[in-house]
Symmetry: none
Subunit: 419 residues, 2 copies
């Protein structure tokens, strides 16, 4: 079975000059792989008409699908649309539905529609416009000699939404790709290497057409089991049989099946049990509360939080004893335990969570170097504290700590799980 | 003046499949730009002999310098070295100094030198070997028709060390390169299209060798002015003259010159003025506090914050009148003003910031649809509130709102700026 191939062309100087890293292409590569499309080449070029046309010529000699991002902005250094019109020997014509979308965006923003943005609704006549749900630059779908060319905005969230909702489904339909099914099993609490040891026998026993990938991220590891077959039903069943073997091997570390972030999986558990949470953050500085509130409907279980950055705030708002801070320090088990217990009282919730540590780059001491972080969980029955040691940069220390607190909460919500 | 041009070719499947993001190319692009080399294209391809040769053919039609990374590992799927030997009609020959380097690395690791690694010391006869100070794969420098081809390992730290110590200096010497200088001007508060209208006359009046680029991000727009010349001093002066014209055109929207995030620019202003801030967040749910605390040293001006997600918390912790919440709602000017004023009192700071809105996807009503968001700023003299309307997804509503609050704060810290 000959694989359908794709080439990704990214337009814009900022990638060539190294001012931004091209994360779009990596994302597109992942998504295309998922639907059985093989990415042959990723090409980044500048906003230059001749070069863009040349890249298109080269790409269509190699690939069935040519995906183009960038160069669709309203300003005059954005050439993509005009180059494509010439390339496909067609002319720009006002596309009323796109104009309506653009006008709507400006109406919502309460800003007057500018001529520049109005121009964005003029599209090559021969293309099938692809709706942009989140921005003013519509996408464009061209077909030529059985090959498909799709132009999309370079703004990541606009491109991703357009790919997910429209382009990927249309490509699947157009190229009758084989069934590639992924099963994602999300774990947290075990490093990749130990996880791999526990799964080694199982992994080697997998049939040829099933592949396992380890995708580590912030202290968690996503396992992706991928199968490819023309027989969808049989494949589904086969994958399920293999996934069903995992609880016996790594049960207590699995927090979700499928693309569910830890904070969402925890949100579901809290909802099921009708429990509420409050947070008292020092070193994570609001990121823990943000993780909870980034999930739709989190107001059902997240009551509120306190970012107690200064010691006065810890004393006044969280009733931490000044002696505790003086004798043990803000970064200590005693402080973080009291923070978790008191924020729970203060907000009248079932659970209190707390963090206190040295995120860095400054503030470290010989006995408490940067990356020394205490976290705590408190409920009506018990308080648990844990010492973390990371030697990462400030932002990563914050992110890893947040994952660790969420995992501490998760473990207490999984009664079946032995400590 | 014709610029020296480069093309970067990255070899390996993991980038194409999106398993890793290509950060090497961005780094190389930055370094090449610094020495006045213009990167024309970045190309990622797989370990395939035909495709590699094709990429080299295409690259040399466009660029003076072809930099290749990856495919130099000891395993049989690493083809680069063999492809290059064929491409330059030469054969592999043992390079003693490289063998000595490789042997030394194994001696240090206390491992016996394998035949596979010994093979890495065999290099194309016609190339100038480039020493790898940190790994077992030597680099290779080829010259053909005045063009330079350099092959380097894909391991980032090995490649960077090789580029910095050897390749970049040799390229500077080989090509007498012009100077390329960038000036970044960061703006917030004006959409790209309106910014472009205000700058149109100025942009069209720019001399041929100065180019302007618009780089939008979360409600802000980075402007990048790029100049190229053999005369560095004259270019610096020219760029400065043009940048100096911007305050009259868009002064109140410029928050920084250079690569400084808004929260850092604001942090500097707060430090300079010795002012402190506290936050009261509803819809942003801790993300505003996180933005402040993501900056090293923010404890100098960020005292703390409250995430008042539930109305009871707004009432109890922020003394919002229940009637206000009942009659005007949590998402109202009255509520958000009181939140900003009271959090300022509560934490004893100079400034209080507040957010309250409907981030979505649920919770919208006909008169207050998703994306209806109130933000407020309060200090000793005044309180300011602003109504925002976004039609984005939950996370983006949170991020855009946070940018808007930070900008509200910034405006009040810029006394010269007229409203």
């Amino acid at each position: 079975m000959k694989a359908v191939t794709a080439e990704i062309i990214t337009i814009g100087d900022e990638i060539l000059y190294g001012q931004i890293v091209d994360t779009n292409s990596a994302w597109m590569g992942t998504e295309l792989t998922k639907i059985g499309v093989k990415v042959k080449q990723i090409t980044s070029i500048s906003d230059n008409a001749v070069h863009i046309a040349q890249a298109l010529d080269e790409a269509k000699t190699r690939a069935d699908i040519i995906l183009i991002t960038g160069g669709l902005g309203p300003t005059k250094d954005d050439l993509t649309k005009h180059v494509l019109a010439d390339y496909f020997h067609t002319s720009l014509k006002l596309h009323e539905p796109s104009l309506a979308d653009i006008a709507a965006i400006f109406r919502v923003r309460g800003i007057e529609l500018t001529e520049l943005n109005r121009q964005q609704a003029f599209l090559p006549e021969s293309c099938m416009p692809v709706r942009n749900a989140l921005g003013t630059a519509p996408g464009m779908w061209f077909e030529q000699d059985g090959k498909v060319f799709v132009s999309m905005p370079g703004v990541p969230f606009e491109m991703k939404r357009m790919m997910t909702d429209l382009v990927l489904p249309q490509l699947k339909a157009y190229f009758k790709t084989p069934h590639i099914i992924h099963r994602v099993i999300q774990t947290v609490g075990l490093p990749e290497s130990i996880l791999a040891e526990r799964l080694e026998a199982w992994e080697t026993s997998l049939p040829e057409h099933l592949k396992l990938a380890y995708l580590p991220h912030l202290g968690g590891v996503r396992l992706r089991l991928t199968g490819q077959s023309m027989d969808e039903a049989a494949l589904e069943q086969e994958l399920q049989q293999e996934v069903d073997k995992l609880p016996d091997l790594i049960g207590k570390y699995i927090f979700a099946y499928g693309e569910v972030p830890l904070e969402e999986a925890i949100g579901r558990l809290l909802k099921e049990r009708g429990l509420t949470v409050a947070t008292a953050e020092s070193c994570t500085g609001g990121f823990l509360a943000h993780k909870f509130t980034s999930i739709a409907g989190s107001s059902a279980y997240f009551t509120g939080g306190l970012v107690a950055y200064h010691n006065e705030v810890k004393i006044r708002e969280l009733s931490i004893h000044p002696e505790t801070l003086q004798q043990q320090g803000a970064v200590s088990e005693a402080t973080v335990r009291a923070m978790a217990e008191n924020v729970r009282q203060k907000f009248g919730t079932d659970i209190g969570l707390a963090t206190s540590g040295i995120a860095g780059p400054d503030g470290g001491t010989p006995d408490k170097p940067v990356g020394t972080i205490w976290i705590a969980y408190a409920d009506k029955y018990k308080t648990e504290a844990k010492l973390l040691n990371y030697n990462k940069n400030r932002l990563l220390n914050i992110e890893y700590t947040t994952m660790a607190v969420l995992n501490l909460l998760r473990q207490s919500l999984e009664p079946t799980v032995e400590e």
